[in-house]
Symmetry: C2
Subunit: 109 residues, 2 copies
DNA sequence: CAGTTATATAACCAAAAGGTTATAATCGCT
DNA sequence: AGCGATTATAACCTTTTGGTTATATAACTG
């Protein structure tokens, strides 16, 4: 089974998740709205189900899929160690631009 | 070229990033510390370089690689839409446990 | 200059993954 | 019971990918 990182690496699966973020959905709805073949959608949904990112509710012959964002927390945690780094980066950039702005103002006097 | 999602989907590449998070490193250091073959490390480093997650500093025959967390911000942004969802989930869980605790306390009286 | 060290790349292989087509299973409806 | 709709699965193909082995390149070292 694929881990959460591999699951969200696939663009179509991210589209499915993004769609489910809006509202629960049946398979047919996903097929129509995402423009992917039904077997492909079902295949991706199976993976999403197995990795715990979606849950199913059986309604007669329909399956209503709903999002469970829980497993994404793992990735968020992993990212947290890097968050300060790119802030650092942006901070450095902002500082750089500030200095540039300052020296421009200086030379404008 | 692989996008940032696909890049971090690979466990060995995450290990490289995690290592570079601690400090800059040469290829040989990475090979020794991660226990992967040199060509494989070089291959991963190339991908990481192409996706902008690392930068190289040439020091004679050595290449010092350093982390650039910038591209990870994209994933962080994508996750942000889901963050409220799993908080919601955790909140619901906490609430559930609270209710259980309350009813236990009730019945204990 | 010869040999050693550090790194990248090429060629190759096996396994996995995304996608398709065809088919099965299940339920509601008439 | 029979039919259409909904979903899952099986079988298959092609491309990609992680990994290995072998080789090239380049710089330091004695």
């Amino acid at each position: 089974m694929l881990d959460t990182y591999a699951i969200i690496a696939e663009p179509s699966r991210r589209r499915i998740l993004d769609r489910l973020l809006q509202s629960d959905s049946s398979v047919t709805e996903l097929v129509e709205e995402l423009g992917l073949s039904q077997p492909l959608i079902s295949k991706h949904l199976r993976m999403l189900r197995e990795s715990g990112l979606v849950r199913v509710q059986v309604k007669a012959q329909h399956r209503i899929y709903c999002l469970d964002a829980g497993p994404l927390a793992e990735i968020d945690e992993w990212l947290s160690a890097y968050r300060k780094k790119w802030n650092q980066h942006v901070d450095a950039l902002v500082e750089h631009l500030d200095r540039r702005k300052l020296s421009k103002e200086e030379s404008a006097k």
